[in-house]
Symmetry: C2
Subunit: 347 residues, 2 copies
Amino acid sequence: MKVADIGEHQLLKIIQKYCPSDIIGDDAAVLTTTPDRSLVVTTDVLIDNVHFSNITTKPVDVGWRAAAANLSDLAAMGASPLAITVGLGLPGNVDVSWVENLYQGMTACLQQYDTPIVGGDVVRSPVISISITAFGQVYPQKVIRRDRAKVGDAIVVTGVHGASRGGLELLLNPEMGNHLTHAEKQALIGSHQRPQPRLDVLPHLWEVLDAESQFSVAGMDSSDGLADAVQQICSQSGVGAVIQRQNIPLPPAFHHWLSEEKIWEYVLYGGEDFELVLCLPPKLAGKLIQKLNGDAAIIGIITDGTAVILRHTQRDKPEALHSTNQSHQKYLDQVLTLDRGFQHFSS
Amino acid sequence: MKVADIGEHQLLKIIQKYCPSDIIGDDAAVLTTTPDRSLVVTTDVLIDNVHFSNITTKPVDVGWRAAAANLSDLAAMGASPLAITVGLGLPGNVDVSWVENLYQGMTACLQQYDTPIVGGDVVRSPVISISITAFGQVYPQKVIRRDRAKVGDAIVVTGVHGASRGGLELLLNPEMGNHLTHAEKQALIGSHQRPQPRLDVLPHLWEVLDAESQFSVAGMDSSDGLADAVQQICSQSGVGAVIQRQNIPLPPAFHHWLSEEKIWEYVLYGGEDFELVLCLPPKLAGKLIQKLNGDAAIIGIITDGTAVILRHTQRDKPEALHSTNQSHQKYLDQVLTLDRGFQHFSS
């Protein structure tokens, strides 16, 4: 059954199953907010064959990922989710089951955080488009911003980076996974299909900061890549950074799976890991990592100036990515630029 | 210059001019809400050649209309606007000036209500899509809902209906306007290109209701047509209605421009007038109309049952739309159905 076979009315009835029943049908949703908090709002648009593809992603995973990306934007601001709205553009030949699966994926991700879909719009379109707006709330004094990094701050990343890109590669080229165990493959593919927004980090962060009766944290999520996140924070804060490459947590399978070059391409520029990149005083950073049971690491430090330097200690067989390879160098330094991690509009 | 000629970064810089400078660049916007109000959220998606067309609508008008439609949804809930977000899908061959004009149109409409664009997303897409989410706030006890109409309520419409559809016709077929004055044409075309959300009605409505120390109002906007609005309110409230056709305010030009049949097609099913349709006790309805200086009218009454009857008193030359034309009838009654005013997905 195609969406063209049923009316918009019937399609809305199907979608309604995934929304709180008292909301759909009116011109807008009404939400209750907590009085002492600020409202946080973020919008993402996903287009078929640009941001997702039926080849690598089932509709249920498209839904999960779309919801996760928006919740990650809220987490990146220090906000707890309230609700999302979904604007769908659909060609008439899309299966109704595709739409149902999409909503199943979104609600599966959202339910973990008690976050309802409170409305939206469904329209005809020559291409599938999914536009999600997420709302959250945050204590005004606890908004995490990109432009607040200070010289001397430790740079903390949660989780591992590169896993989502690795999973995508396995979906595109399954034969690439011949040397991986089933569990390793599943872990990487799971990272790509079912990323988790790091809302779980926030209570630990508040605990660490409250104990010090100070709020000093800058940050964002790494949805556009780890390199991009560090660059964005530094450029908006007017600071530089030195990142110790060997301190960046990687998926365990990477070392026996990928070349050194591919590892760092995936880790730094892969994107869509939806982890948090936070800058805070080293003492607090240490406490946060402790609270997260090691599911985070200090990867570098904020410095004077504007250069973002990726430093890697020389190994037995030095392999510089794009650095000059001078034999007297103790460190191989690479200056990160935004270019590789940044998706150009015309690309 | 096409959007493919400049990077996404450059395009965002252009768009940024239309947004408060402290917001764009972070993962989400942070808004301050008023403690004792509820949050109201609404989303609309517009697709090129489905919801707008370069033939009838300049980008500045596309922007105005998109913003107006969302503000009208807020007005329909009794809410004051806080902000909007904009998700844009753009093919690479779209002129950068098109995007600028779109934002100029949106901000021109929004500025009337001190409503900023607080963020969004810009992505590549094979078709232009515009997804707007608007946020407002409302006193929880003053939410206007569709399902609260009560038997005996007067049905009030603001403004005139059919003007937007008339304006569209003049844009599609300019020769149709040969018998209209320049001012008449401009008024109709203006109604189509620059509709005004009826946020101005709300303070008057609260004044009327507060004076009676009661809140009894149902309603919605007439964006999908006047017939649709009355039908939606009645079906969701489990009531019927009798509408007196001759009481519906029309654009003055209609009587010497259009056939009787066309008049009522435009007025009842034209849509996009963005007026309010409100149901409230007759005494309060009268007071509201007085406060609006006649820019509103009582067009009918809420009745028992479920039928929505369009009644028109017989004239010298009776012309029934779809009614049986029995000579002994004093009134020509037409039972409205949702079908004509409802845009089917497959249409």
